[in-house]
C-alpha cells in the first residue's frame, strides 16, 4: 500500500489550510520560505499548527512553535517524532 511521505502530507495540509489574500498557497509551496515571508497571518500559523498536530498526532511545545514558521524544519521535526 502506498504511504504518503511527511513532505507530501504537509504539502497537502498547506494546500487545504493556508492562504494569502484569499488564494491557497497550493501544494507546490517553497518549503524553504518562512510562512511569515509568504504572507501567512499569525492566526493562520497557529491554526495550521493545530491541524498538523492532529494529523501527525504530535504535541507542539512553546519551544517548538518557531519551527512551524519554516516548512522544511517542520517536516524534519515531524520525521524526528516518527523515528
Amino acid at each position: 500500500m502506498y504511504m504518503a511521505s511527511t513532505e507530501e502530507r504537509v504539502r497537502s495540509l498547506v494546500a487545504d489550510n493556508l492562504e494569502v489574500d484569499g488564494k491557497s498557497l497550493g501544494s507546490s509551496v517553497d518549503l524553504e520560505a518562512s510562512l511569515v515571508d509568504l504572507g501567512v497571518s499569525s492566526m493562520d500559523i497557529v491554526s495550521f499548527g493545530k491541524v498538523v498536530a492532529q494529523e501527525f498526532n504530535v504535541t507542539f511545545t512553546r519551544e517548538h512553535c518557531p519551527t512551524l514558521n519554516n516548512l522544511r524544519e517542520l517536516i524534519e521535526f515531524l520525521d524526528s517524532q516518527a523515528a
Binding site: 494569502v20 489574500d21 515571508d37 509568504l38 504572507g39 492566526m43 491554526s47 518557531p66
Partner: protein, 242 residues
C-alpha cells in the same frame, strides 16, 4: 528627500494613548504609493521586500516600513538615511540612529487593508490589527488562545458578537506577546483579559504570570473595520493615575 514632505501620505494619526502614538497605514493597492515607499527603503529592506513572493505581502511590508520610517524620522528629527533597523535575539525589530540604538520604541502590525504603527519615546509596546474573517472556524482555535474563563464567555456569545469577542481577545493577547518581545514563549491561554474589558471597557491593566513585577496597559483599538489592540509597559505614575 524628506519623507514627511511627501504630498501623498498613506498614513494618518489614529490615536494617542498614554504617550503612545498610534498611526493608521492605508494598505490599499496604490502603485504610486508603493513606488514612493520602495524608494525610502534601505538595501537591507529592499532585499527583504524581494523575498516576499506574493504582491500583497510585498506591498504591505513596503508601505508599513516606509510609514514607520517617516514617523520615526519625524519624532527623532532625523534624516531617513540615518535610520536603520536591527532585530533582537527574539526577532523583534528596533531602530538604530547613525548605527546606535535610537531612543524610541515601536511596533507594527498589518492585516489586509489596514496597518498600525505604535511608537513611544520609551517602554516596551506591542500592537496588533486583524481584519475580522467570518469564514474562520473560531471554535477550532478557542482552546489554544483563550483561558478557561474566556472560553466560557465565548460560549455565551452568538453570531457577530462571537466574531468580535474572539478577535478582540486575540488582538489583546497578540499585542501583549509582541510587547513582551520573546515571541512564542508566552502561553496565550495563561493571559487573562481583565473582566472589565471583556464586558466592554476599552482599556485596562494586567500582569503576565511570567512577569508579575511588570504592569501592562492594554487598550482595545477595534473599529467596525478591524479588531486591534495596543499593549504598553505601564509606568508606576500612569498606573496610579488610572
Amino acid at each position: 528627500m524628506s519623507l514627511n514632505s511627501h504630498a501623498e501620505r498613506w498614513w494618518t494619526p489614529f490615536k494617542t494613548i498614554n504617550s503612545v502614538d498610534v498611526i493608521h497605514v492605508d494598505l490599499l493597492p496604490s502603485a504610486k504609493g508603493e513606488t514612493a515607499a520602495i524608494a525610502w527603503l534601505d538595501a537591507q529592506e529592499q532585499a527583504r521586500r524581494r523575498r516576499f513572493p506574493y504582491a500583497g505581502p510585498r506591498r504591505r511590508f513596503s508601505l508599513c516600513r516606509a510609514a514607520l520610517r517617516a514617523v520615526i524620522c519625524d519624532q527623532l528629527q532625523c534624516k531617513n538615511e540615518q535610520l536603520t533597523f536591527a532585530l533582537t535575539q527574539h526577532g523583534k525589530p528596533f531602530a538604530l540612529l547613525d548605527g546606535e540604538p535610537a531612543a524610541i520604541s515601536f511596533n507594527v502590525s498589518h492585516s489586509g487593508k489596514h496597518g498600525l504603527v505604535a511608537l513611544a519615546p520609551k517602554g516596551r509596546l506591542g500592537v496588533d490589527v486583524e481584519e475580522r474573517d467570518s469564514r474562520r472556524n473560531l471554535e477550532f482555535l478557542v482552546d489554544t488562545v483563550l483561558s478557561k474563563r474566556e472560553q466560557a464567555e465565548f460560549a455565551s456569545t452568538q453570531g457577530a458578537d462571537r466574531l468580535h469577542f474572539f478577535y478582540k481577545l486575540w488582538t489583546i493577547k497578540e499585542a501583549l506577546i509582541k510587547a513582551h518581545g520573546k515571541g512564542f514563549s508566552l502561553d496565550a491561554t495563561r493571559i487573562e483579559t481583565p473582566l472589565a474589558m471583556i464586558q466592554g471597557m476599552r482599556g485596562g491593566v494586567l500582569q503576565l504570570p511570567q512577569m508579575p513585577a511588570v504592569t501592562w496597559h492594554i487598550e482595545d483599538l477595534g473599529t467596525k473595520w478591524f479588531a486591534a489592540a495596543l499593549a504598553s509597559e505601564a509606568r508606576a505614575s500612569a498606573i496610579l493615575k488610572d
